[in-house]
Structure formats: C-alpha cells, structure tokens
C-alpha cells in the first residue's frame, strides 16, 4: 500500500473520530499499535513500560486530535508523541533491566537452519540495541522499522535533517561496535 493511500485511510478515520465514532479510533489504534509499541519498547527495554508509554501516546493523540493539522502525516505526529511519552516514562521510572533469555531458549524443535539463523541474528541485534542510548535507539528504530525519511525523523524528534544524518551514522557505528563486542564475548564463552 502506498504512502498516499495510508495517509488517506488515516485522514478518513480521524474525520470519523472527530464526529464521535469510537470504532474509528479503535481501527486507528489497531493500525499503528505495533509500531508505537516497538518504538517505545526499543527506547525503554521493558514491555510493561513500553505498553504504558504507547497507551499514554494514544490517549494524548486522542485528546489532541482536534488540534492535529490534517495536512501533516498522522504517523509523524503520533511517533513524536510516542517518543515523548517513552522519554517521560523513562524519567518517571528507574530503568528496569529485563532478564535476557539465553539464546538457547530461542531454539525450538521445528527450527530450520535459516529460521534459527534469523532468530539468532535478531536476538543479537536486540541485545546490542539494549546497550545503546535511547537517543541512538530512537534514530535506528525510526529509520529502519518504517523507513522514515531523514526529514520525517527530524520532524519526529525535533532536530535538523543534517543532525539526524550525523546522529544516525553515529548510532549505527555504535550498534556495529556493540554487536562485535557481544559476538566476541559469545565466542569466548563457547571456548
């Protein structure tokens, strides 16, 4: 589905919500909840906190919908709220480090080699992302998960496009370093 169609669907739903249709809001939540949650989860490293932040963001979006400029992209506006809510939750609560499951627990009986490789790669990336600062994680998540442009990321986090580019490069460099450190550590532990 192309960008314009997505914007039209969101605009149509926003129109219905403003007319008092509660089911339209439910539909809007359904469309964007996974991304909102993932963004918050990457920043907060806790499912519980991420759910709280994502819910706060949707409540704020619902309350501020009448003030939303409908010429703008809804997701850019929503993700800005999600990032702000995640940072608020982070400030409010002490970061709780979640127990990271051992990579062996990821292995199921029906895993093929490719499946397993994909799972392990995902595991290490997620582990490495947890070692980065929320700022770095936000940049990487916004850039990769929905392929936001540098301009859109700038709008979401409130910085210049050139600054986004520099921050993104640095974040990816730090992620690559973290991955290397993790993989070296894993190799040593196997010896």
């Amino acid at each position: 589905m192309d960008q314009i169609a997505i914007i039209d669907i969101d605009a149509e739903r926003i129109e219905r919500i403003l007319k008092g249709d509660a089911t339209a809001f439910r539909e809007l939540v359904n469309r964007h909840k996974d991304y909102a949650f993932t963004l918050a989860y990457r920043i907060l490293n806790s499912r519980e906190d991420a759910e709280e932040a994502a819910q706060d963001a949707f409540v704020r979006a619902y309350n501020g919908l009448s003030a939303f400029n409908r010429d703008a992209k809804f997701t850019t506006w929503l993700y800005r709220i999600v990032v702000n809510c995640a940072l608020t939750v982070q400030q409010r609560r002490k970061m709780r480090t979640e127990d990271v499951d051992n990579v062996r627990t990821l292995r199921g009986a029906n895993d093929t080699t490719d499946n397993l490789k994909h799972k392990e790669q995902k595991y290490y990336i997620q582990k490495a992302l947890k070692l980065l600062s929320p700022d770095d994680v936000t940049m990487i998540t916004l850039f990769y998960l929905k392929e936001n442009s540098l301009e859109e990321i700038g709008d979401i986090v409130g910085i210049e496009t050139n600054t986004v580019k520099v921050k993104l490069h640095r974040a990816r460099k730090r992620l690559a370093d973290a991955m290397q450190t993790l993989l070296k550590g894993e190799a040593k532990s196997l010896l």
Partner: protein, 163 residues
C-alpha cells in the same frame, strides 16, 4: 573511505565518485571488503527487524482508559437527569391541575405549602387507575434506563470480545 560514506552507499545515497571508489576497493582491498561486508550484514539485518506486538489486552486496556472521555460525548449519560427533570415537571403539573378542596388549609409558616392542595393529591393517589398508571410509567422509564445503561453496554462489549 569514511564510515559515513559506507553508510551512504548502503542507504543508496552515495555520490557516483564514492561508489566508483568503493567498487575499486572491493576488488583490491580484502580488509575493506570484510569491513564493508560486516556493515552490509548489519544493515540487512536491521532492514528485516520485525515489529514487536504489545499484549493482547493492549487495545482493550486503552479503550477502557478512554471510556470516561468517550462516554461524556453520549447524550444517554444525561438520561437520569432528564428522567428526574421530567418527573419533577410532571409532579408540578399534577399539583397545579388538582381541583382545590373546599376544606380550609391549616395555617403554616410556609405560604407555598398552604397553596398546595394536599388533600387533592391524596385523593388522586387513592384512585387505583391513576396510581397504577403512574407506577407503570415509572417502571417503563426504569427499564429503558436499565437497558441503555446496563444491558446494551454489556452485550455490545460481549459482541466485541467475541470478535
């Protein structure tokens, strides 16, 4: 080749001269090739990262949090107030239209109370047809409110939960 240039190549934003240099290095420099491959692998993995899903109750919890705000937009919330107002008006009309009794009204400190025809009201309620009609109207109004406030939301929620 700088780190930034490598990421530009992977993002597809590199200038032609950088791409040319990169192609040359890939052919001639094994160390550069290994370095580039590690970044390319990471880039590819990041591109294929899945979205995490919130808990099954996420949507339901959110709608429950929003319920008070959504509810205030419905006029059915004011139904008990409309009911009380309607009953007050009805009572006032009944008292005003009641035929005045010939018996003298006892003197009190409240002139408004003296003007009320209390005997007439008693007589009106002692009429079984009028009394049962009054009870029936009240019962009907009670069931309408019960339906709108309790049964309808309950069955709507049940239907939503069942899919």
């Amino acid at each position: 080749m700088t780190e930034e240039q490598i990421w530009d190549i992977l993002d597809g934003n590199a200038l032609p001269e950088v791409q040319k240099e990169h192609a040359q290095l890939l052919k001639t420099d094994a160390e550069y090739r290994a370095h580039f491959d590690s970044y390319a692998t990471l880039h590819d993995q990041l591109c294929h990262l899945d979205l995490d899903a919130p808990s099954m109750r996420f949507e339901q919890n959110l709608m429950e949090r929003l319920k008070p705000e959504v509810k205030t937009k419905h006029s059915t919330d004011r139904l008990p107030l409309f009911f009380l107002a309607a009953m007050s008006v009805l009572a006032a009309i009944v008292l005003a239209l009641m035929p005045k009794s010939s018996a003298p009204t006892p003197k009190t400190d409240f002139p408004l109370l003296e003007s009320l025809n209390t005997e007439g009201v008693t007589a009106w309620f002692s009429n079984p047809i009028l009394f049962y009609s009054f009870i029936l109207i009240n019962a009907l109004l009670f069931f309408v409110i019960l339906d709108k406030k309790v049964f309808k939301p309950f069955f709507e929620k049940k239907m939503r939960d069942n899919g």
